[in-house]
Symmetry: C2
Subunit: 307 residues, 2 copies
């Protein structure tokens, strides 16, 4: 309950970071793309198979030192149903290798439709007599603009299946303030959304004091990160925007509590494309990803001491 499984993995690995698997085809080394083009032609299937092979090799190299992966659904959807198969395969494989999986889908809807998203990503569906898990992630990012009707359907899965959600609160992008920073009775919208996270999560709090309803708070806004850490004591943070988007390790330290818990920091491109930055043999892309994952871990744990 309440991200206990994720927190246990963070403590075990001594690493409060998550590797974002957002595999644009450009990120996949050409030798791997070519292998599947040769087999399947210039098709969506070839792209999707190359992406899964890329992810699988990275998962193999990082699963002992990184607690979680965060596949971004958009980069799978862009290859159609073949891409969605690569997402399913990636999630299944990461779980076999013992990793916690956060699907970054930012899904949102209401009532029965939100139940359908819950079943898709965190739950199961019945077909005849069989209960089947379509995607089977451990957690899902969601958008709370529709209010409680969009979140309540997820809470059942949090309670009965030990899953978690991350609600967008203060996002890492430059224009996040257009709406999120606007004041409502003197309180910015992002803090209102944060307060709702505390409310939605109230009866899912686990042994580390965090609920199953987490929040997405960008590394690019360190002051808000610190403010929200104080305001939302039971809300676990998923922190995007480290590295490529400009957030530094010192800034993200504000996401964490006195025990060095309460948050997990994402890096995607820097890890997936480490082989390009290093200029190493592209065949060593997964080992380069591991080296970058270690560098990131050491960077963050220079400021965050996990007790």
């Amino acid at each position: 309950m309440g991200f206990d499984r994720l927190i246990a993995k963070i403590k075990e690995t001594g690493n409060p970071s998550v590797v974002g698997l957002d595999p644009k085809l450009d990120y996949v080394p050409e030798f791997l793309q070519k292998k599947y083009r040769d087999e399947d032609g210039c098709s969506l299937q070839a792209a999707a198979r190359a992406i899964f092979a890329f992810n699988k090799a990275i998962i193999d190299e990082i699963c002992d030192i990184v607690p979680a992966i965060k596949p971004q659904a958009a980069y799978y959807e862009m290859y159609g149903w073949n891409g969605m198969k690569a997402l399913e395969d990636t999630i299944r494989y990461a779980k076999v290798r013992g990793m916690f999986v956060i699907t970054d889908g930012k899904r949102n809807d209401i009532g029965a439709t939100m139940q359908a998203y819950t079943a898709a990503h965190l739950g199961s569906v019945m077909v005849g007599e069989n209960e089947l898990e379509p995607f089977g992630a451990d957690a899902l990012t969601v958008n709370g603009y529709l209010g409680s009707d969009g979140i309540n359907p997820l809470l059942d899965a949090c309670k009965t299946r030990d899953k978690g959600i991350f609600v967008l609160v203060k996002t890492s992008n430059p224009s996040s303030g257009e709406l999120q920073d606007q004041l409502m009775d003197g309180v910015p919208l992002y803090a209102r959304m944060g307060d709702l996270c505390e409310k939605w999560g109230a009866d899912t709090i686990g042994e580390y004091g965090y609920s199953a309803v987490g929040a997405v708070v960008g590394a690019t806004y360190p002051a808000q990160l610190r403010e929200l850490r104080e305001r939302l004591p039971h809300t676990f943070f998923l922190v995007p925007g480290y590295g490529a988007q400009g957030g530094g390790a010192e800034g993200v330290a504000g996401a964490f509590d006195a025990n060095g818990l309460g948050g997990i920091v994402n890096s995607s491109r820097a890890i997936m494309c480490a082989y390009q930055k290093e200029g190493c043999d592209p065949r060593d892309f997964a080992k380069a990803a591991r080296r970058e994952a270690i560098r990131m871990r050491d960077d963050i744990t220079g400021f965050v001491k996990i007790k």
Copy 2:
């Protein structure tokens, strides 16, 4: 440009309504479910194939009298990649039958990730030398909580590929007011989001005066619907919540301008499940859907005169 294609279809059919294809497996008649279970076992593939067969039969019966369908992505995702294949197949088939397709995905993200969603649903991807259209809808529903960074990547597709988007403004659910009705400098969040739609769409206005950036405004809030119609003169409305959620035809009339244009009203369950309500032979489910689509058209056009 600017929903001209959709508006032309509405004028041609004399029908400002859209059929929501949200095919819960329970909605699919048992004889059809069984057919595919017998072929594929109790699998996600069997569910997905039954759903596509159900959709296809309904599309065949309504394509001459209804301008558009709106498949809800959640009900396809819940059957995994097989379900996403049924979504692709449904979109392709509806387009072959001449219908306008709005994928209801409420997608949202920023920058390159939003570009990936745009490519997935409204655009194309390159694999080797081939340009491929993954889902190929005409329009997509999106969530604007992240601000302009989440919307700008879509505008290119609106301009260069004659596509459209619908931004969630005031949703039909009971809890939509928790955030959307809260005042920012005296203006409710939903109206702020609406104002942004006018801004985002400003250089995509088509011959009927509407931009390619539409808004989702629920039928369950007729006063806000009327208020927003005045406030947002260039924003085309997608109106959910008619029928099952309690919005009536008189209330939705506020979505339309003096020419009977400016909006399209959705109905999902009442049409898909018309055979259950009628108590007719389940094998006639598609004909029952047609009868209900005609009843809805006549109900709405009793209050909305298209000129």
